[in-house]
Symmetry: C2
Subunit: 491 residues, 2 copies
């Protein structure tokens, strides 16, 4: 009975979050700008309501009773996931939640104009406020959860992950990645490469995107593709809303973005229907989510066999040109080039951007570093990892990301965890079935069935380590990632 009451309560919460997700999508894709103030107010009221829903005083009793009555394993796991959301919503004092939300909005809003103006001095006091409150949040969480301060933030995005484990993992990467980057650059230096010549009409790019989504098994009865300034995958699992943005001069940007978001979308669409309205039916973690988008974008779409399938589509939509030749497209899509901007980084240099951010955010939260020291530390680590300087260039350095502006510390590692999990999944899939080349040439559906069976259908019913262990025969391990990069870029 109490489990039932809890389920109903969390289903209600899920319904409210559904409305928030659709109205958030609308805000980014459809809403005229004059509607923004009213929308922000309405979504603010919803956020308060959702928070109240989690602070309902009846929950404590229901949880206590449900622990006694529930015996099925799935119910126990479901209960644990509800408890996790409840705990996260109740362990912070309301004043701190409000202060954090206000400081985060203020800093993020200011960042939108301070970044293009390269104005570090204007940003610093706002960021110091966010950091100060984030440290308080981390302390409060750490105390309740029995974790270090940084780990308590990491836990929000990647349950079970600890910085000690990340230190080992990233330590391993650092032992071989810089050398690999150098080798790849040497190898690629003299490779001929043609840039496709635009313009590429946006209507055609959209038609191509829809075709590729269909090829990738996206279910258009439960989702759609639209345009927003910052691409995302939103909506709900019954109705997944992807967005992209088009550049008339660059056909790869929107296409690869769409493929990336389609990976997120298929995970959402593949979550088990019977659990969808409860926390246990949600995606396992941000790292696992990112593993699906990166599986689609990196393992699949940048594979020579997949690129060979793209060429006729490109030719059909934009006419033939020499640059569309599969071997040229493969070279374009796997070009390695250290740069300043994370979101523009290639597959090989991307982890360097993440390790840099991880080290800095960990030290900021643990109090081993102060906000004012950020630009110098950033420049120093960029020199170490990628041989580039950001001295005085804040906008392409420590001001480039939105994450820290509202206090989302602990999120960055998800990206590289995603790359590593994706490589492990690709390796296991190929070991258990056939090579990706054969799977792509023959029938992509075997790829999706494997992901459905090993990742999507498990939602949050398994812990991440168990999920990856059962799917890949080993938990988190960067060996497959290293082999993947060596094979693709040096093989």
């Amino acid at each position: 009975m109490s489990y039932h009451a809890l389920s109903q309560h969390f289903e209600q919460l899920h319904h409210l979050q559904h409305l928030g997700a659709i109205c958030g999508w609308d805000q980014a894709t459809m809403m005229p700008s004059g509607g923004n103030e009213a929308r922000a107010e309405a979504l603010g009221t919803l956020a308060v309501l959702c928070h109240q829903q989690l602070q309902d005083p009846r929950l404590a009793d229901w949880f206590a009773d449900a622990e006694q009555e529930s015996s099925a394993r799935e119910h126990k796991v479901s209960l644990a996931e509800m408890r996790r959301q409840w705990r996260d919503a109740t362990l912070l004092p309301a004043d701190l939640v409000r202060a954090m939300s206000l400081a985060g909005s203020r800093c993020e809003h200011a960042w939108r104009s301070l970044r293009p103006a390269n104005d570090w001095a204007g940003y610093l006091p706002l960021f110091e406020e966010v950091l100060n409150l984030s440290r308080q949040v981390a302390s409060a969480r750490a105390e309740t959860l029995g974790l270090s301060r940084y780990d308590s933030l990491l836990e929000q995005y990647e349950p079970g992950m600890r910085s000690a484990r990340l230190d080992t993992l990233f330590g391993g990467l650092k032992s071989w990645l810089p050398e690999l980057i150098t080798q790849v650059q040497n190898k690629q230096r003299n490779e001929p490469m043609l840039q496709p010549q635009g313009p590429f009409a946006i209507e055609q790019q959209r038609a191509l995107g829809l075709e590729v989504m269909t090829l990738l098994g996206f279910d258009f009865n439960h989702g759609r593709l639209d345009v927003s300034a910052h691409p995302f995958c939103g909506g709900v699992s019954e109705d997944v809303r992807l967005t992209t943005r088009y550049n008339e001069q660059d056909v790869a940007q929107a296409l690869m973005g769409i493929i990336h978001e389609t990976g997120h979308a298929r995970y959402e669409q593949g979550l088990p229907a019977q659990w969808r309205r409860l926390p246990v039916g949600q995606a396992r973690s941000m790292g696992v989510h990112e593993s699906q988008s990166l599986f689609f974008e990196m393992q699949l779409a940048r594979h020579p066999a997949f690129i060979a399938r793209l060429t006729p589509l490109l030719e059909r939509h934009f006419g033939a040109q020499p640059a569309f030749a599969p071997d040229n497209m493969a070279r374009l899509y796997t070009r390695v080039s250290p740069g300043l901007i994370r979101v523009d980084a290639d597959e090989v240099t991307y982890p360097a951007h993440i390790m840099l951010r991880y080290e800095i955010e960990r030290d900021l939260i643990e109090g081993r570093m102060e906000a004012r020291d950020l630009p110098e530390r950033w420049d120093q680590l960029m020199q170490t990892y990628l041989g580039l300087s950001t001295k005085g260039n804040y906008k392409d350095g420590c001001l480039q990301d939105i994450h820290w502006t509202d206090g989302s510390f602990g999120y960055f590692p998800s990206y590289t965890l995603g790359s590593i999990y994706a490589s492990q999944q690709a390796a296991a899939m190929q070991q258990q079935q056939r090579s990706l080349e054969q799977l792509i040439d023959n029938n992509l559906s075997s790829v999706f069935e494997w992901l459905q069976q090993h990742i999507w259908q498990h939602a949050s019913l398994l812990e991440t380590d168990t999920l990856i262990q059962q799917a890949c025969g080993q938990s988190l391990d960067a060996t497959a990632f290293k082999h993947h990069l060596q094979q693709r870029y040096l093989g």
Copy 2:
């Protein structure tokens, strides 16, 4: 203090309704059909929450205290409008609300397939259930409000309106309208008329629609135009969402629909900003709302001077053709032809469709007629008012409207009240300023300024009679409507 608490409470409710309005719009325009079940659940949860918000036990005390403390007239009116919503939400027993909602959904859902199948026998038991519950609702409302049963339902859509007054009003119409219809038909019988030759590309129809919306002062910073199966005006006043549907063979259908909805939209966009989040800041009544859409569609858009402005736009989008000549278009747009379907009816025969429905719904609710007698009564009144038979033709007779399927009895009179109010407004505007012909030829903004000043800015701050009296120098009166029809159709 209590007024402040009430305001905050109703603002919260308004924010929830905002999310519901946007998600409802999305459901009709954007959502893939596979998302419907989850959306219906989410909107259902929201409806329950909104209802709970109005049943908050603190409201009674706040209202009692606020009556004492509030002195400003506007606060008193605002309080009265909040009280009206509160009363409506609390005067029905929860069981009845739930039963009504279920029976209404069931009947409406079945109606969608029973109507095309002309299946009256299948519809009758479902409709009997809805009628039975609607009578219970009417009785409960009647007892609390001290009104007759039908008047208690009318009060939901047209506060202050009573059936005794409608009887007089419609009695007046009946004394001259049938004769007028005959005269107009005789006059029009030999008029030459060319039908525009399609197809009219949908992209061009949309571009034309946007142009006409701009001409009519629609604010695209606070709204947009999309497509849905059943056109409506939704969203919130800061972000009004219009919809239309396009027919490749008929350019008038979408265009006139867009103009109609633009009238609704400008009322919404013109509501006073400082009251928008409270009940007093909402549109006055459905009749007044309909008066704005009909002012735009009938008084303005079917005026020869306006049609003359449309011709060059039509020619620019679709090329010139003889049918686009202003005098031909004017004849097309003012063709009078008694027909079976209300939504296809012209301006002159439309009131007959409404009077028929009014008489039937009043008698159904007052218990003077039973559901099973509906087809016969319908046929008999259609014969009387328009000389047409619907015997055995349920789908074009008593099954044609959605309104009664979910128990929306009392709504229909709003349409004809709207026609009459619109004529009164047009007459007063022309008396106070210049002829509509001159206003259209010179500057439409004088028209919109008049409506803003006399209708839109007053939201629900005035009772309908006062609003119309102040705007037009007299309250509800069909004389101007009669003059308008005589002048336009026989002049």
